[in-house]
Amino acid sequence: MDLFHNLIFGFGVALSLQNLLYCLIGVTVGTLIGVLPGIGPLGTIAILMPITYGIAPVGALIMLAGIYYGAQYGGSTTAILVNLPGETSAVVTCIDGYQMARQGRAGPALAIAAIGSFFAGTVGTLLIALFGPPLADVALKFGSPEYFSLMLMGLVAAAVLAQGDMVKSLAMVVTGLLLGLVGSDVNTGVQRFSFGFPELSDGIGFVVVAVGVFAIGEIITNLGDKEERRVFTATVTSLFPSKEDMKRSIGPILRGTGIGSFFGVLPGTGPAIASFASYMLEKKLAADPSRFGRGAIEGVAAPESANNADAQCKFIPMLTLGLPASGVMALMLGALTIQGIQPGPEVMTQRPELFWGLIASMWIGNLMLVVLNLPMIGLWVKLLQVPYRLLFPAIMAFSAIGIYSVNNSSFEIYLTALFGVFGFVCMRLGFPPAPMLLGYVLGPMMEENLRRSMLMSGGDASVFVTRPISLAFIIATVLILLVMVVPAVRERRLDMAD
């Protein structure tokens, strides 16, 4: 079996001492920031990215991925214990998880969340291993028109399916595409939008945009919120769920994993949507729906499995097609590019250690989260007591060191400050910042593929609809846009955003 052969190869890579260490660092940092509200995986990955320049691409990717799924895990811990979603994906877990904690059943809730996440993570890992290679095979046959249409579909879907205002999301994608064009044009060498600054001739640094918007902008926004933190810390007595708990949870975990995997491969849908959908499904299926909201264990098992499955499956389009389906995946793609790896289907054949090593590490990382973090819950909860007034200056400091260390350039620090202000303004005006990052990452590739397509076709734009695969992507793009204009769907979407 090829699959087993590959997986064994991947485990060989991931189990090297170095990569195990990177994985451990990643999931620990991830749990930490998942626990702490006010800093999310996007900001953290952006801040830590400069550190990864010095290590091998596999290690870098393993660590950054660990931060991502570790954060999902940490977010659920605080949701259950203090009714505070450390990450947006844990909002739904708060509902029943916190009620369970108030009834003195915090331990079983945490354990089920961990078991559900682990199961979902395992399935997600298997799905990537199963569907990754055939998808990449298909993608290898793509020409420029197919790539252009695919990116168009990805960007439109990401903007449209994301929570919040659809038009504003699309506008942010376009803004990101423009930002991506800054610097020398690859074909002619013309300096675009560099305003005479030689520092901009290579484009705006990826880390500058990401840290500026997702770390600095986020802090400025947070300091405006006058919301008080409610601290009720439940004590964890016994971790072990009862037989009854286990029996009730099996179904929700399986269904949650399914829903999460489905939403995972769709671009734009964050883990929040997957966990919400799975919660609603369990409530519909339940014999006694009134138990939900009062500490039903199904209400913890389902969304926790769903958001983890979603997080893992988001890697499928990124690794096989080079198409980021979310802000975090855009960062991963950026990390690959900085390491000198051209993302796309070739990665799997040319750098198999990267693909299979990462997959294997995700399974190991999920195991680490269960084995290492459950006993450490007390420590994580203590961390919650670090006041934000100390936390944010520390984030500022690490952001600044991270950015400065890339090129030893103060110019990039000033630029980051500027993007911080821009990010703040965007959030205040209701623009979601993540789509901008997608556009920014894909901008140069999209332009390049557009140019090549037009050269190929002799300047005839119909090339995008005469080639069948490209046509399929275009039709899908139009369908996605149409569906969203239908009022019923739109209202539903607004409900979910609340």
Binding site: I220, G224, L455
Partner: protein
């Protein structure tokens, strides 16, 4: 439904997009546009700028029709202090060294919070600076002078 124009979210949002889109188009006009067959460096930016302007007009019109106020509160203090602290960090890294840059950045940022406490912030900035020196300069070997003579 009567939202003051100065507090109308979509009006501001629309104007911002129009400004960015229009600026992109104006700047990109000086780059060779090329033809559909051989696109010049100006082709893609002008399309994007036009698209952005259209989005902006749509959102502006929507804001004028049914206005929505900018919700929540924001901290002008943070908006000024945090970027300023970063800028000071940048200047001090070139003219003062790592230690003054870090202390000014951390202490400066801390003043952005309404819960700012002088003594706590001072101690915290010194402690975190010491930690950063140990980890980043001595540990990871980043080549920054700890302190220079402010030239």
């Amino acid at each position: 439904m009567n939202v003051k124009l100065s507090n109308n979210k979509d009006v501001w949002a629309g104007m911002m997009l129009i400004a960015i889109g229009a600026a992109a188009m104006v700047i990109a006009r000086s780059y060779p546009f090329g033809t559909a067959l051989r696109m010049g460096p100006g082709y893609f930016p002008i399309i994007l700028g036009a698209l952005l302007t259209l989005f902006g007009l749509f959102i502006l019109a929507r804001g004028l029709r049914r206005g929505e106020a900018i919700a929540g509160s924001s901290s002008l203090r943070a908006l000024i202090i945090l970027p300023l602290s970063l800028v000071l960090f940048g200047v001090l890294m070139e003219h003062g060294g790592f230690v003054p840059a870090m202390i000014v950045l951390i202490f400066g940022s801390a003043t952005a919070s309404t819960e700012f406490k002088l003594l706590e912030a001072l101690l915290f900035s010194v402690a975190l600076t010491a930690l950063s020196v140990a980890v980043f300069v001595w540990g990871l070997g980043l080549p920054y002078p700890l302190i220079t003579d402010f030239n």
